[in-house]
Homo-oligomer: 433 residues x 2
């Protein structure tokens, strides 16, 4: 059995997971791939830094040492970020090397370009780890659900925010307190924006929607709302109404175009995604042949992510062994019309602070009615410390435009002090969130 030599770009969390996984299961992996896999070189920023986990592997801070090494047939990009990762991947392919990557940033913005480069150079190009950590979801979409026209994809695909929302729900603590705890545990960055503002989930949503709907969806096409405005009060009210809150990525193939969004959603407790807790991720897919399917597992972490990266490496090695690299022409659909977020439909939960005066509930209900938003329920929830009243309303399914207009009209009422929350509710009807 011969040996295939590979290089890693990056030795951070995912990189060290890959090193560990390849070493702990070396014999099993060789048996499954038909060759031994050897990491020959690792690109790092500082090649002199001591790295006990990297025993005996050559470290270099010069990408050309990898590019020019003809023994290296697979480049595994686990450095993250747009630049120089994208450039390194393109140059690796141009040099005839196969590329495996875990990089959601690059895939969410440059998938077409990378596909073209892979096709032109007849190399393999795989990126399972870019979405959902270890969960197999890219290959299932590309190879297992191919009989289906997919109408909908929904996912809990950011572990940090899911951990935070789960803890807020279980422990009734504030957003700020849970963010600090997530930062202490290393689940959230010092600057948590990429996670809590939904940007990480939006990148993954773009990738999933591109594959599910045979089109090109880029990061900028995704309508994004984060979780930093979610309060423990909203979570509590939601629980009483039978809902748990999740930051969801939603993709839909609608008559009005492709609709891709990331935002918080109140899900009924019985929904399969409602019990995806903590750092777990799950992706729910609805196709016209398979019906509903769901893929569940750890969405992040060194080893789970390495599970996906190493599976991709093994696939390339199998192709090398059987002489069939570049066998797939990578194919991405045409750009399709996007559905403007205003046209998307959902129930909505609104929480208002109003003056505690007679007739207020009537005035609010009338304002909803004038905005053509019909209400499922409206309750006076409690009094605030200032002696104002807090009102919680849940609407029937309306367009986002109508819900926003209703919120605007409510804000203009003299009795309304504040529209504190406007959160989508999945009411169980199909095709609405």
């Amino acid at each position: 059995m011969h040996t295939i030599k590979i290089a890693l770009l990056g030795a951070g969390t995912v990189g060290s997971g890959v090193i560990q996984a390849l070493s702990m299961n070396a014999d099993i992996i060789a048996g499954r791939s038909g060759a031994y896999i050897e990491i020959k070189k690792i690109l790092v920023r500082d090649a002199k830094k001591k790295r006990p986990e990297v025993n005996g592997i050559l470290l270099t801070d010069n990408f050309d040492e990898i590019l020019d090494d003809e023994e290296i047939s697979i480049v595994v990009e686990v450095m993250g970020g747009l630049s120089p990762a994208r450039d390194y991947m393109l140059r690796s392919m141009a040099a005839g090397k196969h590329v495996v990557t875990a990089n959601k940033d690059v895939i969410a913005q440059h998938l077409s370009e990378l596909y073209t480069a892979a096709n032109e150079n007849t190399v393999d190009f795989l990126y399972e780890a870019s979405v959902g950590g270890g969960i197999p979801i890219i290959k299932p979409l590309k190879e297992c659900l191919t009989a289906n026209k997919i109408s909908e994809i929904m996912g809990v695909i950011n572990g940090t925010t899911n951990y935070m929302l789960t803890k807020m729900t279980e422990k009734h603590i504030s957003y700020d307190a849970v963010l600090r705890r997530a930062q202490e545990k290393g689940y959230a960055e010092a600057n948590p924006s990429a996670d809590v503002d939904g940007l990480d989930a939006a990148r993954k949503a773009a990738i999933l929607a591109s594959l599910a709907f045979d089109t090109v969806i880029e990061f900028e096409d995704v309508s994004v709302e984060g979780i930093s405005h979610i309060t423990e009060d909203d979570i509590e009210y939601g629980l009483n109404l039978g809902y748990v809150i999740k930051l969801l990525a939603v993709g839909r193939n609608t008559d009005d175009g492709i609709d891709v969004r990331v935002h918080p959603v109140f899900l009924p407790k019985m929904h399969p995604l409602a019990s995806v807790n903590g750092v777990f991720n799950a992706v729910f897919v609805r196709g016209d042949v398979i019906g509903d399917a769901m893929f569940y597992g750890r969405g992040a972490g060194a080893l789970p992510t390495a599970s996906a990266v190493v599976a991709d490496i093994i696939e390339v090695v199998r192709d090398i062994v059987s002489g069939t690299t570049g066998r797939m022409k990578y194919r991405i659909g045409e750009r399709k019309k996007l559905c403007p977020v205003e046209k998307t439909r959902s129930s909505y939960y609104l929480r208002l602070v109003v003056a505690d005066e007679p007739g207020v509930l009537g005035e609010i209900a009338t304002t909803f009615g004038r905005a053509k938003v019909s209400l499922k329920s409206v309750i006076q929830a409690r009094w605030t410390e200032d002696g104002d009243a807090e009102i919680v309303a849940v609407t029937h399914v309306v367009t986002h435009a109508a819900a926003s207009a209703a919120a605007e009209a409510l804000r203009a009422l003299p009795v309304v002090r504040e529209v504190r929350s406007l959160i989508r509710v999945a009411d169980g009807q199909e095709d609405t969130i």
Copy 2:
């Protein structure tokens, strides 16, 4: 774009699902596979029977008409049963045709033989639909979890029994009543044995365990217990203790050997498999790199199963288009030592009917103690119509041998009228059911 011609063996439930799926998404499928797919011939028992769903496709009752047709490059076996399906698949491969099958019976008993035939004839051989209906699980095991040493696989993989147990739990109805309802709905056969006695699940468990543990597990290697002895009383007691009952397939790679079983299990309500209800299936996998992962979807039905069959057909067509058929050498591990069921470990739930006499509870607890089975709880649950007492005991984790010996010793006590139930309980500890 050219056309690949295929033949179906069988036009039953799955066969008609395949015809429908290929026709409803013909253009999407052609775009994804790189060729149009045409069903040229269908093997049926009675070629003269009117079949409105088969418009324009040639029906034949003579397999040789398919075998000798050089235009047909893929044979899709959806007839089910061991014979003649196995023979037809082997002869198709010998004639250089690729084979796709949904046949769990053949795969659970003859996988090695079929792999050898596929390798010798350099043809593709795929069987995603043999387990879990539409759920992608075979390909994920073969291609996505390849970095992992898998320690455990657990699944709800029989839709009929899951429908029955779900209904018994929700509606508090008897086994006999729910079986009749399942038969009326077409979920259970007139002779329901294959489902309710766990045989169908055992075949699928053998397939999953073979792939998960790189070995050959055949149907006869699986220890099987069905659900026909489960009563609504047990389900009720279980609910009160915090458990829901599922017929589980369990595979474990233990120090005592490979352990593969199918039997009812009380699962804690929070377990990911506990909320897999009705005709849904799910397979839970634990690997040393990925951690826990789960695959969920419709485990049966014409279209969901066709989703898997057609995905396999598309994979073969892609290989034909790129000239890479037979690229994978199909590889199955050596037979490994099996773990005898007596050595497997679990908590157990026991329900006893005893004489309503003073000191009975003590006598029972002493008997458990002598059998070296320690108890987590023992309660006198209620009186029976005959004035006897019903006792429910839950043990700590013990071997199956110890639990069986305790049940035997209890049966020998003069005060014990009957040991009505002995059901495994997943107590949340790892590696025990």
